[in-house]
């Protein structure tokens, strides 16, 4: 990351708000965009992606891709497909994206990768990192801290600051 990266910090109060954040994110995404989601088990990565999928207008409910590693949601209208990947088990990183046997063009899709940090960055020079932090321990509530970082020229004037509008 360098000084030109765009960074937005958000506080997300509820699971519903996380879903809405995914919806606002969908408005900024174009075919070929890569989104990396990081956060502990249960941080809300799949919840965010569900909101994103609903707003993109893709087929099928967005559920955890862990078991199948990657799931393709074809577009219902003219928009891009959503490719939802859980890279947790992809030890070798991006080479293995080819091994997922995805029957879809990645350049014509929005690709969302959970647990992809350090594994899939080379897929695109421009990418969006979204880090979700939840409190640990049983006392914590639903509140999440979200840091959105746009890496590369694609995100410098993409309106990322708009993500914080109406949040929380």
């Amino acid at each position: 990351m360098d000084d030109l990266d765009v960074r937005v910090r958000l506080t997300v109060e509820t699971a519903q708000a996380m879903r809405e954040l995914g919806g606002r994110l969908a408005g900024l995404l174009r075919p070929g965009d890569l989104v990396l989601l990081s956060g502990e088990l249960g941080a809300g990565k799949t919840t965010l992606t569900r909101g994103l999928g609903e707003a993109l207008g893709v087929r099928g409910a967005v559920t955890s891709p862990t078991f199948v590693i990657a799931r393709v949601h074809p577009p219902l209208g003219d928009g891009p497909a959503l490719v939802h990947v859980d890279a947790y088990r992809l030890g070798g990183g991006l080479d293995e994206m080819e091994d997922l046997d995805l029957d879809v063009s990645l350049t014509e899709s929005v690709v969302v990768v959970e647990w992809g940090d350090g594994k899939v960055e080379e897929l695109a020079e421009d990418r969006l990192h979204i880090a979700i932090h939840r409190g640990t321990g049983t006392a914590a509530d639903d509140v999440r801290q979200v840091v959105v970082t746009g890496v590369g020229a694609r995100w410098r004037s993409a309106g990322l600051s708009g993500l914080s509008v109406a949040c929380g």
């Binding site: 088990l41 099928g60 559920t63 088990r89 030890g91 046997d101 321990g137």
Partner: protein, 358 residues
Amino acid sequence: MADEPLVLGIETSCDETGVGIVRGHTLLADAVASSVEEHARFGGVVPEVASRAHLEAMVPTIRRALKDAGVAASDLDGIAVTAGPGLAGALLVGVSAAKAYAYALGKPLYGVNHLASHICVDQLEHGALPEPTMALLVSGGHSSLLLTTDITSDVRPLGSTIDDAAGEAFDKVARVLGLGFPGGPAVDRYARDGDPKAIRFPRGLTGPRDPVYDFSFSGLKTAVARWVEERRREGADVPIADVAASFQEAVTDVLTRKAIRACKDHGVEHLMIGGGVAANSRLRAMAQRRCADAGIELRVPRPKLCTDNGAMVAALGAEMVARGRSASDWDLPADSSLPVTEPHVPGRTPATAPGHHH
């Protein structure tokens, strides 16, 4: 007996290469080659590893099944194969093999649904499936309640998971507890020495305004992770057996409660539980007791028939033949998201099986 359909079934939707042979409702062979040990080091199933393993195991497993069953390939009445849902590359290996054998032998090809197969397999254990039957399918990739009036043509989804599948929750909790992969058997084993009431973990989607037949296991998974993190932060030992037992209790409580509710709401007197999680000892015991209390007859196949296998595909294929359902076309695709409402993939023109009539 002899005029019941003799069918070979091939299953490759995930990490097990299964080839089964049945005659009607009678199991003749159930050969399985698993790549689970190769996946264990990744903590899950890796598609490319699975596809390669299927390719290597396919022909030997088919030979073994024919030998175990004591039948010749030429005696078969049809070849059935899982057409979906599952991993695309893995499915393709099975579908390609099934086409090759069916075409070379001059037998009809039946592309069938993996989930419907998990239901139909119970015919090998308990005889003809009652109509209607409520099916609770729980595995690493699925958690669904399905109302079945005819397993070859009418399977209606009532509800399913909105986030993680039940088996996936077992895998992730096992990961948190450091119990290895696959998580289901390990959690089951540790839970036997634990107190299921030690920790009150949340029951997802059981509130009065929640969807009645849908499941959610993501919140439960997070609650377990947080509880364990808190313990570790305090420097306290994590009581693995109690956590395993309490987590398992929460999963089986919700699964059985919703399944019985679905039976009562729809006036269905038979509940079938299938899929890998049906091998869980606590789920079996709790379902047995709650079904008995509710006057519902419970059918759960033996554990080996609950996990993925070829016999279940053969069982559904045999039912397709018995009920005169049309065979699949030679361009039958592997469909990784084949809807559960399609128990099989019929050909576009009926009865296109190649010659060789007996």
